[in-house]
Amino acid sequence: MPSSVTAPEGQLSRRDKFRAYMQASNPTAPALQMIEAGLVCEELHHYLFRNLAGRADLEPGSQQLLVGGVGSGKTTELILAERWLANQGHVLPLYVDTSAETDLSSLNSGALLASFGLHLGRWLSNGAGTHIETEELKRSTKESYEKVKRYAYGKNELVLKDEDALRIENVVNQAWDVLGPRFSVQKVPGKLKPPLPPLNRDVQEVRAALEGLLAATKEVHKDVVFVFDGLDRLLDPTKFWSVVHQDLRVLRELKVSVIATAPLSVLFGAGVGQSISDHFDRVHHLAVIATDPENALLRSVLEKRRSAELLNGLLTDSICHYSGGVLRDLISLARDAAEEAYVSERDSITATDIEKVAHQLGTGYLRGLGPEALNALLHLESSKSFDLSQPSNVELLITRRVLEYSSTDFRVHPALLSVIPRPEPKRA
């Protein structure tokens, strides 16, 4: 930058100050980046990540589920658990965001196993495998990895042409060079390459290959913990269950500990709670954090992200209130309020900025709500009762218009509540 900068003194530092704040309050930054930058409060959910990691470590084959609404901090807890496990030394934690690797909207049973095998195979082939001492195990590990890759990505295989099918007796008795032209190539689709068609192959097909890879991993003195992120995107619980019944069952048999995320819809709704506890050793519910000023947790999240540079105490409480305790909304509001102050040429955040961004957030939640849904929200606000046997109410929960503070405490998102049009009082 030239030395002849003519901006008044303090102008560039103002921009630098806002920029630094915005980067610390970035609601879409990767969780790992925020953790490494020291911007995450590990105590936020009472160190839940340690419970998750400890159980997975002590009980091979255990399966735990982390259930939470959108923006509740699930990924952060999973990555903290992964890092804790890695620090133990004797465990190999494999964190995989399945939704980034494959098209979950057409997910098949077997896809999670394919993903697990690929990550384990990659770990072994990227140096860890050099610790395997016997040649036989090295060879079988390589073969297992190749099998997993074929299972995941598909393969080309030779199949008999129709005319040859009638002469199969002759075919099997001839040499390869004679037979070659009699075959055609047929694509067998893989597990991870989208689009993923419905798959009928038994997930057991890949089990032997996974066993081979796990045997090699044991040779390097590592137990494996598979941390599955992204399954919470499957808002339709039936898709979630289709992989749970197949893939996770095999992983349990293989004594691989699993920590996975799930959407709120598997927890709430008629009759689903029981089946969840039947299938998992432990279900952790990441509820919304209480927003009352006495609860300093939300404030500590903002303080960790440099809020003091642009916000005073009362304004911080206001942001906490409008967030409803949804972590990503909290950080978004803090960021957006600063943005509003910056483009309005102010040096710090004001109450007007917060009201404006809360209105924007609330208006986003309001869109798409019909009269019935609005009535349901107003009824919840006045009566404090919420009937979860109604699918439309579960939808309100999934889309975060309604927040769950406990199994009996449901409330309308405060930013939404502030913009809901109220019916005019009837005139006498």
């Binding site: 980067q23 986003g364 999934i398």
Partner: protein, 195 residues
């Protein structure tokens, strides 16, 4: 019924610029001549962010195509256009692949009027990334009136204690800092060629 804030495209770009990396926001396309407005947004983004801006159509992109396009390259600005609007099913499938959409450069969703309801209803994971950053392009597509332009030029001049001529002279001598306010100033004076 409450409405979203109306922002000129220049302000939209300025908001993304101050955010730094990985910014997500949504802009509701104007009803009249959305194609011209989209071109204008693309130009403003390139000018303010000082990086290329691409438009990617969300329909009929597949998971693999969209994921590939967004990461090759990963750090330019990308406008994801919903065209005349996306079906509910498409929003659902985009929502489950949100992780594959994450990138280091800014992402701008260019939405038709009916898309916001579908975004909130059927793509809560994407909506969560957008937060309250949903803006109306306005009926003029974000173009400032002459009065607004003069007001802004006066504001900049008073703030930096410089005249327009001095800014042009410094830009020609390559002595002007590459701050967005100076880029804006030059563009408003019709001297975008000096940026």
């Amino acid at each position: 019924m409450p409405e979203f804030s109306t922002q000129p495209f220049f302000e939209v770009a300025r908001r993304l610029e101050i955010r730094g990396e990985t910014g997500w926001l949504a802009v509701l396309a104007p009803v009249t001549d959305p194609t011209a407005a989209l071109d204008q947004l693309q130009t403003e983004l390139q000018s303010i962010l000082q990086k290329p801006a691409r438009v990617i159509q969300l329909e009929p992109s597949t998971f693999e195509e969209l994921s590939g396009d967004l990461h090759q390259p990963d750090d330019d600005a990308v406008i994801l256009s919903s065209g005349t609007g996306l079906a509910q099913e498409k929003w659902r499938s985009l929502d489950v692949m949100r992780s594959a959409l994450e990138r280091s450069g800014p992402v701008i969703l260019w939405l038709s009027p009916g898309d916001v309801a579908n975004l909130t209803e059927h793509a809560p994971n994407i909506r969560s990334f957008i937060g309250g950053s949903i803006f109306l392009a306005g009926p003029d597509g974000g173009i400032m009136t002459e009065t607004e332009r003069q007001e802004r030029l006066t504001e900049l001049s008073q703030h930096f204690r410089l005249t327009g001529e001095e800014v042009v002279r410094k830009a020609e001598a390559k002595e002007l800092p590459l701050e967005p306010e100076f880029v804006e100033w030059l563009v408003l004076m019709g001297r975008g060629d000096l940026v």
